[in-house]
């Protein structure tokens, strides 16, 4: 028996759906077995998971709400990954964005939303962008690797947020608990449902930032000169400099924009779901975003879908934990298993595998030009 692997020359088209469904089925099968091993109904558990994630209008909406910050952060990091800049600092940039927005919200209380919200977003994108520029600058001018500096700046950024909330920004009315005062109504992003006369649950207007950012991302990459140059820089710094591309400028640009997007996500999360700044705003979306960006292969539409699916998975797992009374650690195991299966499954998008038996193979090997891997 011999296994022959070939790179596909044409895209799989709808076959991709089959591949993804197959990988998902395998992953869910593993989860079902794990559930049964711990004495819970396997298939029943999967049904609860599915219903919890997609079964009701509100569960879909919950997934959508949770996907917003993941999507924005993911777009941001994807931008820098496209040119081989390893920005893993979205978490810290998210924190700084929340800090920037809060600064404006606290400084200008009582302003109407058309004034306050844009200023908050601006401040958030500025703060997040600047935080992203630090690793970019360190890399360009001092040769400091951006992985380490962006990772360390995550910790520093979060602790800076805590320093403010535990210290100078603490709301005098909060009995000493670490939270700022509630933003004035103009500083809080409202929910979409009431304005549209629909029952849209916790869905808020921050959602609008997603198509805006997504379209801008797509246009930037495929319609602008800088976008093309950025793609060319993906071949590496030496190639870029040889081709006389503005490599340094592009590094600053992608890190600044990526930071701005993560900062925007931070301000939306802060303003729409908490209505104030609290350390609990940090739940690790900046790291989730990295997984999403790569699973989606850095393309905007797949990033949107993957953000939504991963967010929904987490919503579904919560319901599963509640209904079957399984520990939270079990949800983590499931998420890890699903990610690994889907990732491995993506292999079949790019490669075809055929199995041949020894006798047939002997005939084949006579034919020249057949590449294979045993």
């Amino acid at each position: 028996m011999n296994v022959v692997i070939r790179r596909r020359e044409t895209s799989l088209g709808w076959g991709a759906l089959v591949v993804y469904l197959g990988a998902l089925a395998l992953a869910l099968g593993i989860c079902a077995v794990l559930l049964m091993l711990s004495g819970k109904p396997g298939l029943g558990g999967l049904a609860i998971l599915f219903r919890g994630a997609f079964g009701q209008g509100y569960s879909l909406l919950d997934g959508l709400v949770k996907a917003i910050p993941i999507f924005l952060c993911s777009l941001g990091v994807a931008l820098s990954f496209r040119m081989q800049i390893w920005n893993i600092g979205a978490e810290g940039q998210f924190a700084l964005g929340a800090v920037g927005a809060t600064f404006v919200a606290l400084a200008l209380p009582g302003q109407p939303w058309p004034v306050l919200l844009p200023l908050m977003f601006l401040a958030a994108m500025l703060a997040g962008g600047l935080w992203g520029l630090i690793p970019a600058g360190l890399r360009l001018w001092l040769g400091v690797n951006e992985i380490i500096s962006s990772l360390m700046l995550n910790y520093v950024g979060i602790l800076f947020l805590e320093f403010l909330v535990f210290g100078v920004w603490k709301d005098p009315g909060s009995f000493g608990f670490p939270m700022t005062a509630e933003f004035s109504p103009g500083g809080q992003i409202g929910r979409m449902g009431p304005a549209l006369g629909l029952n849209l649950g916790k869905l808020h207007w921050g959602l609008l930032a997603c198509p805006l950012a997504g379209v801008a991302y797509g246009v930037f990459l495929s319609r602008t000169r800088l976008g093309f140059e950025l793609a060319a820089c993906g071949e590496g710094e030496r190639v870029a400099r040889y081709a006389n591309l503005p490599y340094g400028f592009l590094v600053l640009l992608v890190m600044g924009l990526g930071g701005a997007l993560a900062g925007l996500a931070g301000s939306i999360e802060c303003s729409a779901t908490l209505g104030r700044l609290q350390p609990t705003v940090m739940v690790g979306y900046g790291y989730t975003a990295i997984v999403v960006a790569w699973l989606a292969r850095l393309k905007p539409w797949p990033i949107a879908f993957t953000s939504f699916l991963l967010a929904s998975l987490r919503v579904g797992v919560e319901v599963l934990e509640l209904r079957l009374q399984i520990p939270a650690a079990f949800g983590q195991i499931m998420e890890g298993a699903i990610l690994l299966c889907v990732l491995a499954g993506q292999f079949f998008l790019d490669y075809s595998v055929s199995v041949r038996f020894a006798r047939l193979r002997r005939a084949d090997s006579a034919a020249p030009g057949l590449e294979e891997r045993a």
Binding site: G13, W14, F54, Q56, G57, Y58, S59, L60, L61, D62, L64, V65, K66, L159, E162, F166, G167, S174, F175, G176, F177, P178, L198, N199, L200, G201, K202, E269, T273, L274, G275, R276, Q278, T280, V281, V283, W301, F305, F308, V315, E318, V319, E321, L322, R323, Q325, P327, A328, A329
Partner: protein
């Protein structure tokens, strides 16, 4: 071109799902409502239940009310932001009649969900907000802290007590202050050194923090976090330690003097009883102390001499009678300024928002 069609197709499908779901949305609340008479109660924990710690102590309370024939469910490790709101709402939707949100960070999410589910009764732990259908509740654990402080003050030889502290919030600060006041009530020379870890559960770091305190000659270590790291550090150095949340003696049998422990059962049983009898009311701040049995200290370790036990038990008896003189002046802060004049008793709102250290604590309050 094909690529675009595929994308659009998938988008249309998703939209269809969402819209179909939205129409069904409103009437789903009643779907899982339980049959009349059977009470269903939900618990939201911020950390894993595990085998010790804050959520474990809460879970003992949950198990206690299960014995009353109540159906319970819980979700652990719930993040205290947007996720909490979703979990609490899921519980309300599925027909839980009482929901205990057991951590401070659940306050705003609880208030938001409570507004949408007026028929569900919400109990929020350790916060300060309430509403028509929301009570907040907590226990006067500082009374137990005061007693453990007395034990520490009587047992120390170096007069330096170490305190491995979690986050600089009033709940933790109040505990440190009560511990210090307790220690100095029996040993005016005692001082309390504080190290913040900014963690609720990082066993290795919390152990290291305790060791740093032992290195500056502290010989009794108290703690606020969920892990037993500090207990182990003290045991290893042959020094004493004081646990929190539950009896931690199994982690350090030779070092564990006692512990400030939670016992939520009486409070939770009483709430269930109230709901069953229709006597439950919203808008309350329920703050029970040792007199109602919500807080206590763990049994003394074998190394605690009889006379120490007697002294502490005498004070404990006062608490049991409802006589609470922990925060009664004169109380000075770290800078020596009088915060409560002689004979003045701190009000609950002062305790709730306590952000300063009493005289005798060494370290930053942030």
């Amino acid at each position: 071109m094909k690529h675009w069609m595929r994308t659009l197709g998938a988008l249309a499908l998703t939209l269809g799902f969402v819209l179909a779901g939205c129409q069904k949305g409103p009437d789903k609340a009643a779907e899982n409502a339980t049959t009349a008479g059977e009470l269903k109660v939900g618990f939201v924990y911020t950390s894993p239940v595990g085998e010790a710690g804050y959520s474990w102590a809460q879970d003992q309370g949950r198990k206690a009310i299960e014995k009353l024939g109540v159906k319970t469910e819980f979700v652990e490790s719930v993040k205290e932001g947007a996720d909490a709101e979703r979990v609490i709402e899921n519980m309300a939707r599925s027909g839980d009649q009482i929901i205990f949100a057991t951590s401070f960070g659940f306050m705003d999410p609880t208030m938001k969900v409570a507004k949408d589910y007026p028929n569900v009764k919400f109990m929020h732990c350790s916060g300060f907000k309430s509403a028509e259908n929301v009570d907040n509740y907590f226990g006067r654990i500082y009374q137990a802290r005061y007693l453990t402080g007395m034990v520490a003050g009587l047992m120390t030889k170096t007069n330096i007590l170490g305190y491995v502290a979690a986050f600089p919030i009033p709940e933790v600060i109040r505990g440190i202050n009560a511990f210090t006041l307790g220690a100095r009530s029996v040993n005016p020379k005692a001082q309390v050194r504080v190290v913040w870890t900014k963690t609720w559960f990082d066993p290795a770091l919390e152990k290291d923090a305790a060791i740093s305190l032992l290195d500056v000659n502290a010989d009794v270590i108290a703690q606020h976090q969920d892990s037993a790291g500090p207990q182990e550090a003290a045991a290893q150095r042959g020094k004493y330690c004081i646990g929190y949340n539950s009896d931690m003696s199994k982690f350090a049998p030779k070092a564990h003097l006692t512990a400030a422990v939670w016992n939520w059962a009486p409070l939770y049983e009483s709430i269930v009883k109230e709901v069953r009898e229709g006597a439950w009311k919203g808008g309350r701040s329920i703050w029970w102390g040792m007199d109602k049995g919500v807080v206590d200290i763990a049994p003394y370790g074998p190394m605690v001499p009889k006379d120490v036990q007697d002294k502490v038990n005498a004070q404990k008896a006062l608490f049991k009678k409802g006589e609470d003189k922990v925060f009664v002046g004169p109380i000075k802060d770290q800078a020596g300024q009088i915060k409560f004049a002689a004979g003045v008793k701190a009000e609950d709102k002062d305790l709730l928002g306590m952000t300063w250290f009493v005289d005798g604590v060494v370290g930053s309050v942030q």
